[in-house]
């Protein structure tokens, strides 16, 4: 953890430099336009100053985003509708619920596919097909249908998170549950282990490396799902709503701060899974 400090800082530093340069490059047009209309002359310093301080830049400079995040997190009460923390929390809860549901569904399907020939042959192609449906197109319908049957609030959003996150779990777990080699399976046969014993004592532990990789992807996917789910609920609250509202009023700075917040959320969640992974594998004696 401590060792990562310097490398991360270096990479982040490099990124910031690129970001600032890109801000100048992308926002320059606007600066020149404005100058032309008002008849001013653009010097290098005024160009830099202006491109890093526009109201609605194509690409806001890092400090503008930082300031916005600061204003909307630290300087606002977390119960305020203008607090990013409030919105993050709303998205987070949907993400976690969706992730949980997706993991359960994905694992169940994977188990079904590994253990049941009928499911293996018939379900997998449709699981794949389901993922090619553009979720943004049917998310509103899902929300409407769920609303119609009286389910609203957290669950519809979580359902979309689940829809996106169960797939990586299925793919990874099918592979993982099938990764024990022939001898290991044969041993179980010699003991006449029941299917569930083989599952809990062999297939599941053997699938751990695959499971964790899938969990990380599923978590990121679930977050995307939660955000997508927030759009058709009427852009009421959550990071998705912030993104959307920002987009409709051309508030790039607000978009970027919501975006970075979402990414930070994802990074933290994925990081937590990574930590659980290290601890689990170590306890299982697999992290040699």
């Amino acid at each position: 953890m401590k060792q990562s400090f310097a490398p991360v800082l270096t990479v982040v530093g490099l990124l910031l430099v690129v970001w600032y340069a890109a801000a100048i490059w992308l926002n320059a047009d606007w600066t020149y336009d404005k100058a032309k209309r008002s008849g001013e002359i653009v010097t290098t310093t005024s160009l830099i100053k202006d491109t890093w301080a526009q109201d609605k830049p194509k690409l806001p400079a890092p400090h503008q985003v930082a300031a916005e995040i600061w204003r909307t997190t630290v300087e606002k009460k977390i119960t305020s509708k203008r607090s990013l923390i409030y919105h993050s929390w709303i998205t987070l809860s949907a993400t976690l619920l969706g992730f949980g549901l997706g993991t359960v569904l994905g694992t169940l399907l994977a188990v079904g596919i590994v253990y049941n020939r009928t499911m293996d042959m018939s379900v997998m192609p449709w699981v794949i097909a389901s993922q090619t449906i553009p979720i943004l197109a049917i998310a509103p319908m899902i929300i409407v249908v769920l609303n119609a049957v009286g389910i609203s609030g957290l669950l519809p959003k979580a359902m979309i998170g689940m829809y996106l996150s169960f797939f990586p779990i299925v793919v990874g777990m099918v592979k993982g549950l099938r990764s024990p080699d022939q001898m290991q399976l044969d041993q179980m046969r010699t003991w006449h282990a029941s299917a569930s014993q083989t599952f809990w004592r062999l297939r599941l532990p053997a699938s751990m490396p695959y499971l964790f990789t899938s969990l990380k992807i599923a978590m990121a996917a679930s977050l995307v799902g939660a955000i997508i789910g927030e759009l058709p609920t009427g852009a009421v609250a959550g990071l998705g709503a912030r993104l959307l509202a920002g987009s409709y009023y051309g508030q790039t700075i607000q978009i970027w701060s919501a975006l970075l917040m979402a990414a930070a959320l994802a990074a933290v969640l994925v990081g937590i899974i990574g930590m659980v992974q290290r601890i689990t594998l170590k306890r299982m004696g697999m992290a040699q």
Binding site: M183, Q184, D186, Q187, R189, P205, G285
Partner: protein
Amino acid sequence: MTLPPVISAKNLSLTFETNDGPVHALKDVSLDIEKGDFVSFIGPSGCGKTTFLRCMADLEQPTGGSITVNCVSAADARMARAYGYVFQAAGLYPWRTIGGNIRLPLEIMGYSKADQAARVARVLELVELSGFEKKFPWQLSGGMQQRASIARALAFDADILLMDEPFGALDEIVRDHLNEQLLRLWARTEKTIAFVTHSIPEAVYLSTKIVVMSPRPGRITDVIESSLPKERPLEIRETPEFLEIAHRVREGLRAGHGDD
């Protein structure tokens, strides 16, 4: 009074289909193993010993002939947990400690917690691994892993033991020790044992019956009944009777070795 044979193979054949043509691993193998027999299988590498054992254990489906275990099909015998099997490679689960690996079949077969602990301790002692219960497989030497896998097969009560080169990776002294232990266990419990080995002295020392096999296609070339008494001190290995049997086995083996 003749009991029916515990394991009875009739014209057993097994052919593997591979990417470049079929491999005849077993061809027309017939053999009866009686209750309380200690049968060794010996033969050149790749002659089908493992395959034969796997057929008995219902891990491989013969493509011809038939096999019964305890008078029922191999599959039913497996379901009835009629045997313990020691694989040629240790095959311990890397995420379980040595103790956990040995406990595994006990958990599966539903032994009580206390019984599990007692049995694990007993078999660990038997294979001289007391003190390694909490280690993970990769922290053990090759021979120690192999002993752990033997312990695992001995931990539960099965009438039949199928052992595929269990002592291959062990030094002579431990091997002698385990040979004695195994004989003692066999005498005490009247288990029926099918035992694959490459060591002629080991085969002669342990067995009541030695099956010599030859390769491609795998078949039985000789079945040698041992005239040694049931009580066998290690020194029996220097007796002329012992050496005479060993000689017969060696001759049989050499005959089977086509290319020499």
